[in-house]
């Protein structure tokens, strides 16, 4: 018995150690994608892997031919460990990289062939460096990391040294090396000069002016030095925390520690509270109104998005939980306290390609936000904030909130009904056979147009009607057609926009058929059955896309090459995508995105990476 218990304990311990690549994720990681089932990735070629945007920061030495013709299987990775891709940006520096398990060091260095061994300051840790990146190996785990000071930090330090040395504005010297410009520079001028300098075709050959004394650094050389020093400093800082203090993301955020235990194919972690802090508009807040900034930061505390990715035989499921703090949660809870408007279903055709519904209660959200935000603003002793607070309170008193929120309650829906030919006009040139002189003639033409419908619930449709009535006096292109209004050539200067106010809904559409023949709804052809039930029962949001009807209609021009590749992979496959949401509580809202498809993907590992990359691009 003791033998079995020992065996179980040993197995548990070994398994525990076998899954430790996540212990090398620095605490500064704000976004993490952790791929559990990396067996799937064995077939993925390394060339494909390094072409993903989420690998962009660390790919330089991988993308130098050493990966040619190889797959991840040849890379020495341990497929029993997780592969964790991370990214994080703080006030001082940003980090990017990935952690992995290692099975065969020799094989690993046939891929990482540009790394050279350096002296490691950490016991039991091997350090390898290349021009951009650092590879640290501890036992059978590896950390490939790049640490860069933020541009703001480099600017700040470089400028302070530069001016302290008594030099003038370096940009002046750059733009007007010989001119004596005495006027004042405004922002627009500066932007113009910047464009002129850097948008030229010769920018690759641009060299900054030298100092008279060759031993003194010019501004750009100084900047490079600052960059290098701070890069080393922050790299040491991050590694000290990891390898000396043993402090990592697992210890820093227990939500991540819990989440990474999930056995799904991949997990996703985004600490929105830290992501919010780096937002540019909050930087302004931090500088100008530090107290207010701290209060807003407090509001976002606990804001984290946790996701699980499941790959099934004929489905991919993405479960996401958005967690937030009590105060923000109280606003979301009130906002999502809204019933589904059944009349919406009347305007969704049973054969539609895609639709969504969104139910929110703006009135309650406004009242709650007012309760939460006004006390925060009241604490700020600042003229501008006080003035804005006064305006807010006056508006709150004087504006007829009943009229406002009854006009736009917040609930809306949208449909995509595919591409239809619409009638337009074009100019042709007609030639006289006698002289070949030509004249212009306007003729009827047809062009493709995506057909959309967007509507919102209203109890005061008379208010938008008033606006339309006045607009129709201003231009003959606005017309009241009885059951609907039309604004001619409103969409892309070609198609008409129709407006319907019926059944407590105000609807905008470029669907002529809906306006002219179905202004009361599609009747027997309206959406019914299970889809309608799901839309009604979902939380504040529901979305459904029928790929077979939608994907072929996506305009290729609007997507880049990689996105088109992903869309191409989906073309020709039937299936649907469904987004549902839970009821919102003060603590969290859950979303579930399921993509069901018929047929198999040739390489599910590549598909997994496609999805991870999409999420990375969206979340970055």
């Amino acid at each position: 018995m003791r033998f079995y218990l020992s065996l179980i304990a040993l197995t548990t311990v070994l398994n525990g150690f076998a899954q430790q690549s996540e212990l090398l994720i620095p605490k500064d990681a704000v976004t993490v994608f952790s791929l559990n089932n990396i067996q799937l990735l064995q077939k993925v070629s390394l060339d494909d892997l390094v072409s993903y945007e989420f690998m962009a920061e660390v790919q330089q030495e991988l993308f130098d031919g050493s990966t040619s013709g190889k797959t991840l299987k040849d890379s020495g990775l341990d497929f029993d460990q997780r592969l964790n891709v991370f990214y994080g940006k703080g006030d001082q520096y940003e980090i990017s990289g990935f952690t992995f398990g290692m099975k065969d060091k020799e094989q690993l260095f046939t891929v990482f062939d540009d790394f050279e061994k350096s002296k490691s300051p950490y016991e039991g840790v091997e350090l390898y460096t290349s021009f951009f990146n650092n590879l640290l190996i501890k036992g059978n785990q590896g950390l490939l990391i790049r640490v860069e000071p933020t541009m703001e930090k480099i600017d700040e330090i470089t400028d302070s040294i530069w001016y302290a040395r008594g030099f003038e504005d370096p940009w002046m010297e750059l733009y007007y090396p010989e001119d004596d410009y005495e006027g004042e520079f405004d922002g627009e001028m500066e932007e113009e000069m910047y464009q002129e300098t850097f948008d030229t075709e010769d920018q690759g050959n641009y060299f900054p002016p030298d100092q008279e004394d060759p031993l003194k650094k010019n501004y750009f050389e100084l900047r490079d030095s600052v960059n290098t020093i701070y890069q080393q400093r922050y790299f040491s800082f991050v590694c000290d925390e990891l390898f000396k203090d043993g402090y990592n993301l697992m210890k820093h955020d227990l939500r991540f520690t819990e989440h990474i235990k999930h056995t799904s194919e991949g997990i996703f972690y985004l600490d929105n509270s830290r992501s919010v802090q780096k937002a540019q508009n909050l930087w302004y807040l931090q500088t100008m109104f530090p107290t207010l900034y701290n209060d807003v930061k407090e509001l976002y505390t606990g804001n984290v998005i946790l996701g699980d990715l499941f790959l099934k035989d004929n489905a991919v499921e993405f479960k996401v939980e958005a967690r937030y703090g009590q105060e923000l949660g109280s606003i979301y809870e009130k906002m999502n306290n809204s019933k589904f408007d059944k009349d919406v279903l009347k305007y969704i055709h049973k054969d539609n390609s895609a639709f969504f519904s969104y139910n929110v209660n703006l009135r309650e959200a406004y009242e709650q936000a007012y309760k939460v935000i006004v006390p925060i603003l009241e604490n700020e002793r600042n003229v501008q904030v006080s003035y804005n607070l006064l305006m807010l309170e006056l508006i709150n008193e004087y504006v007829n909130k009943d009229a406002l929120f009854d006009t736009y309650k917040g609930s809306m829906f949208g449909t995509f009904n595919g591409i239809r030919k619409i009638k337009t006009k074009k100019i042709i040139f007609e030639y006289d056979e006698e002289t070949f002189d030509y004249i212009e003639r306007e003729v009827e033409a047809e062009e493709d147009m995506p057909i959309f419908t967007l509507g919102f619930s209203t109890e005061r449709g008379d208010i938008p009607e008033k606006i339309l009535k006045h607009l129709s006096r201003l231009t003959s292109r606005f017309k009241n057609m009885g059951d609907y209004w039309v604004y001619e050539e409103a969409v892309l200067d070609a198609a008409s926009l129709y407006m319907i106010h019926k059944n407590g809904l105000f609807i905008f559409t470029n669907d002529e058929d809906l306006a002219m023949n179905h202004s009361d709804g599609y009747g027997a052809d309206a959406l019914k059955g299970s889809l309608a039930k799901k839309a009604k029962k979902s939380g504040f949001m529901y979305g459904h896309i029928d790929w077979s009807r939608t994907i072929d209609h996506f305009p290729r021009d609007f997507f880049n090459e990689e996105e088109n590749e992903m869309l191409d992979a989906m073309r020709g496959k039937t299936g649907n995508m469904e987004l549902t949401s839970s009821k919102t509580t003060k603590e969290s809202t859950k979303f579930n995105l399921v993509y069901n498809f018929n047929g198999e993907y040739e390489n599910s590992g590549k598909y997994l990476l496609d999805l991870v990359n999409s999420v990375y691009v969206i979340s970055k």
Binding site: I422, T424, T435, L492, A494, P555, R556, D557, N560
Partner: protein, 225 residues
């Protein structure tokens, strides 16, 4: 023999592929002076163009605003006005139907050719190229020789199929007019007007990108009385 002269305006204006119609119309008087007219008609694709112009970027490249297009076009006009031997420069830009016209008088074919070469050079990244030495039109008083630009075939190879299809549905019309009747011409695809004073060749932009000799022609006029 690489020229992008005729496509300069299109390149400047859009860099986008749409159902396009181009008319290139040259009138040559007996004394060698004449009038040059160039028309780009994108009205058949105005929905597509409007939808693209509504975007900030497309396929990773910045989409020019109407103002950018107008400024680029005006740059070419202003530059053309300053060229010697070029007078009466006129233009129109119709942003509702996307029709762009340019017209000028020239003292002689050489002046026109030099002016266009200079503008291409100004707008091009390549400041020194053998292309600028190539003469694409010549006139000796009785015989006119015209060749036409070579669109970069490599560029069309990287185009998406639907863009190539759009180029195929477009029109490229080249007209050459004279003060006296045409005797004969060498391009079998050319047509003569009933009054024998003009020669026209029609093709589509895609065919031109594949065979830039399509519009090459030598036109012989009847002797001057």
């Amino acid at each position: 023999m690489k020229h992008r002269i005729y496509f300069l305006i299109i390149g400047l204006v859009f860099g986008l592929t749409s159902c396009i119609e181009i008319i290139d119309d040259v009138t040559i008087h007996n004394d060698g002076s004449g009038t040059y007219k160039y028309t780009v008609n994108l009205s058949a694709s105005k929905v597509k163009i409007n939808s693209i112009l509504a975007l900030d970027s497309l396929d990773g490249k910045k989409v020019p605003s109407k103002e950018d297009i107008e400024n680029d076009f005006l740059d070419v006009i202003e530059s053309l006005k300053k060229k010697s031997g070029i007078t009466n420069v006129d233009y129109s830009m119709d942003f509702s139907d996307y029709i762009f016209k340019l017209q000028c008088d020239f003292k002689s074919i050489e002046y026109l050719q030099d002016a266009i070469k200079a503008i291409v050079k100004e707008q091009s990244k390549e400041k020194d190229s053998e292309e600028y030495n190539y003469n694409w039109i010549s006139w000796d008083g009785n015989k006119l020789m015209r060749s036409i630009p070579e669109l970069d075939i490599k560029q069309t190879k990287s185009m998406k199929q639907e863009d190539i299809d759009l180029l195929k549905t477009g029109n490229y019309t080249s007209i050459t007019r004279f003060d006296r009747p045409v005797d004969r011409f060498e391009n079998a695809k050319a047509l003569m007007s009933k009054n024998k004073m003009a020669v026209m060749i029609k093709t589509d932009p895609y065919s031109l990108t594949q065979d830039y000799n399509l519009l090459e022609n030598t036109i012989y006029l009847t002797p001057q009385k």
